[in-house]
């Protein structure tokens, strides 16, 4: 069982490349699952699997292996987790009605990352696939994805939940105030002044409802972490090509290695146009009748020659540890399985696959 985690910031083409890498592996004979976040809801259309919530076989394929796909439904995944973790179903029901929970399960920073990993882990546990490709939620920085589960777990790690749980008083606020030390009482008073008592009541209810799944969440996070640092789990950083992004890629690279993760490749997507041929020299003078077009051509060609030098420096620095792959901009939207196959072929040609 292998896992390929595609990380990178928003808009770099992560979802499409994750799917294309899945297609490539299926063509080469593997039973593959592509797990995607599909924020723009377009990959489902591309793959022809709109509307299905569970793992399903992508229609219209004739590969040596098999291609499956699933779009992660955050709300459902989070709720399912809570249902499984809660010892009593009334407790889960109560939680589902809590306003804080309703927002938390879908909009808290890190909750989407958590559900993506939760879904990945279930598929991994099932042992049904040779390869799972995970497309991660968009983030400002690629590294946010890895920090998300810890962030979520630290929420429930705090002694806070225990305080709420151990209190005996009947009214929520009474309970709160009984168990807090003098300092905390003072803090709660300030907080109440700023926010009003309603929010505090919701908060107390929330912490009391989650008591049962606190332990399960932590256990899950430990297992997920073990899966992510397994040598069979590879990370692929997908980035666009500009100076600031390269600095970020370097930072990410260092952080991944520090964390004990295994990096397989850095992909610079849409790094150059398809027409560009680095070995083709610039004609000495403008062809008759296309002076303006030639001026544009010259300007772009010089731009990409400069980019080539920046890339060479970057690739040289990292070539000992990872593959640095550049993919051209094919200048047309990918709207079906055939388009993904074209992309898969480009990936194969540029970087011999996974």
């Amino acid at each position: 069982m292998k896992i390929l985690v595609c990380v990178g910031n928003g808009g770099v083409g992560k979802t499409t490349l994750a799917a294309a890498m899945g297609v490539l592996a299926a063509k080469q004979g593997a039973k593959v699952l592509v797990l995607t976040i599909d924020p723009a809801k377009r990959l489902a259309t591309t793959l022809g699997i709109e509307g299905s919530k569970d793992i399903c076989k992508v229609p219209g394929q004739s590969y040596k292996g098999e291609l499956y796909a699933s779009i992660v439904d955050h709300k459902k995944t989070f709720d399912d987790f809570v249902l499984r973790a809660a010892a009593k179903s009334e407790a889960a029901k109560k939680l589902f009605n809590n306003k804080l929970y309703q927002k938390l399960s879908t909009s808290l920073s890190g909750s989407q990352d958590f559900t993506a990993l939760e879904k990945l882990y279930s598929a991994y546990e099932s042992g049904e696939f040779d390869l799972i490709v995970l497309d991660t939620p968009p983030a400002k920085h690629a590294i946010d994805f890895l920090n998300a589960p810890q962030k979520l777990s630290s929420l429930f790690n705090d002694k806070v939940a225990r305080w709420f749980r151990e209190s005996k008083s009947n009214s929520t606020r009474g309970r709160l105030m009984n168990i807090f030390n003098a300092g905390t009482k003072q803090v709660m008073n300030i907080l109440e002044n700023i926010t009003g008592s309603e929010l505090l009541r919701q908060l107390a209810d929330f912490f009391m409802s989650i008591e049962q799944w606190q332990e399960k969440l932590e256990e899950r996070i430990t297992r997920v972490h073990r899966m992510l640092v397994d040598p069979e789990t590879k990370f692929c950083l997908i980035t666009s090509f500009d100076q600031a992004k390269l600095v970020e890629a370097e930072y990410f690279f260092t952080e991944l290695r520090k964390g004990g993760y295994h990096i397989n490749s850095i992909i610079m997507n849409r790094s150059h146009p398809e027409w560009l041929n680095l070995h083709e020299a610039l004609p000495a003078e403008a062809p008759v009748g296309s002076k303006n077009l030639f001026a544009l051509y010259k300007e772009e060609k010089e731009f990409y020659a400069c980019r080539e030098r920046i890339h060479a420096t970057f690739a040289k620095k990292h070539e000992a540890q990872t593959k640095v792959i550049r993919l051209p901009d094919i200048n047309r939207p990918i709207s079906d399985l055939l388009g993904l196959e074209v992309m898969a072929e480009i990936i194969r040609a540029q970087g011999d696959g996974q």
């Binding site: 927002k103 909009s107 808290l108 002044n193 926010t195 309603e198 929010l199 027409w275």
Partner: protein
């Protein structure tokens, strides 16, 4: 006088941060004291402008032009310190585990703190932000929706009390076209255009806001058919291929511009600047922006 507040958003990878920076430079050059704000845990502008650090307090880049990095935490801290004023009490507050948990769990609280800070001038509430122009780089469409929705969301959970009141006042300012303006940065390509159309419609329907569209990396030098025909006779294969691709690109760009102009007839276009020098790119873009 109230500051002008600009929100710059758009799909990932369209050049939002660059356009926001160009807008900031333009405003600073016109004599407005300008603050360019980015949101998140890590700074993009630090490397972009080769600064030694960027944090919650403004860092000066050029005359009249500073950048700052806001997080929900940093805005909330500042706000609470402003409200309770006593440093020791404030420390007690933030070192308290209940408080930490509260900040983490309360939905939309970080977003609310950010929007509260951005609109503190016109609302005359909270710590002073001494700038004439505040430009906020909202890093992705999804996150921007979370920022915009936070005040309404909070007001729904907390109907009574000061928090509910502040939430409603932030929401009012965000909808006021005399104070806040919205830019959607877009590329002349199918997916970003589709996402721009959707975001435009959502902002209009949910908040009554009319955003302005900026079409970035647009082919501004339109060439005649004769140029492409002449190129076919050239002996250089790469140039012939370039000509073929550029002809397609030019057509697509015009088509995409027509589409976004269906939403915003005043759509501005910015050219692709063929340079790796940040300041050079920004100067060109700033000069083009209206």
């Amino acid at each position: 006088m109230n500051p002008e507040i600009f929100f710059v958003t758009g799909k990932g990878g369209v050049g939002k941060s660059t356009v926001a920076a160009a807008l900031a430079i333009k405003k600073a050059k016109s004599g407005r004291k300008t603050l360019l704000v980015e949101i998140g845990d890590q700074s993009f502008y630090k490397d972009f402008f080769s600064l030694s650090s960027v944090g919650h307090e403004p860092t000066m880049v050029q005359e009249n032009f500073s950048v700052a990095l806001w997080t929900g935490q940093s805005c909330l801290r500042e706000y609470i310190l402003h409200l309770i004023k006593v440093e020791t009490l404030y420390k007690l507050f933030f070192e308290n585990a209940v408080m930490r948990a509260f900040i983490n769990v309360a939905p939309a609280l970080p977003e609310l703190a950010i929007m509260g800070k951005a609109t503190s001038g016109p609302r005359n509430h909270g710590p002073k932000l001494p700038f004439d122009c505040i430009i906020i780089d909202c890093y992705a469409t999804g996150h921007f929706a979370a920022l915009m929705g936070a005040p309404v969301g909070m007001a729904e959970i907390v109907k009574v009390g000061p928090m509910g009141e502040q939430s409603r006042s932030i929401d009012r300012v965000l909808r006021d076209p005399r104070v806040c303006q919205y830019f959607i940065v877009c590329l002349p390509e199918e997916l970003p255009v589709r996402e721009t159309e959707e975001l435009f419609d959502q902002l209009k329907a949910n908040y009554g806001i009319t955003p302005q569209i900026i079409l970035n990396k647009f082919n501004t030098k339109s060439l005649s058919e004769a140029e492409f025909v002449a190129a076919e006779a050239c002996s250089n294969a790469e140039f012939r291929e370039f000509s073929k691709q550029h002809r397609m690109l030019q057509g697509m760009h015009l088509e995409m511009r027509t589409r976004v102009m269906g939403r915003d007839p005043t759509t501005q276009t910015l050219p692709m600047v063929w340079s790796h020098e940040v300041m050079q790119v920004l100067e060109v873009l700033a000069a083009r922006l209206k």
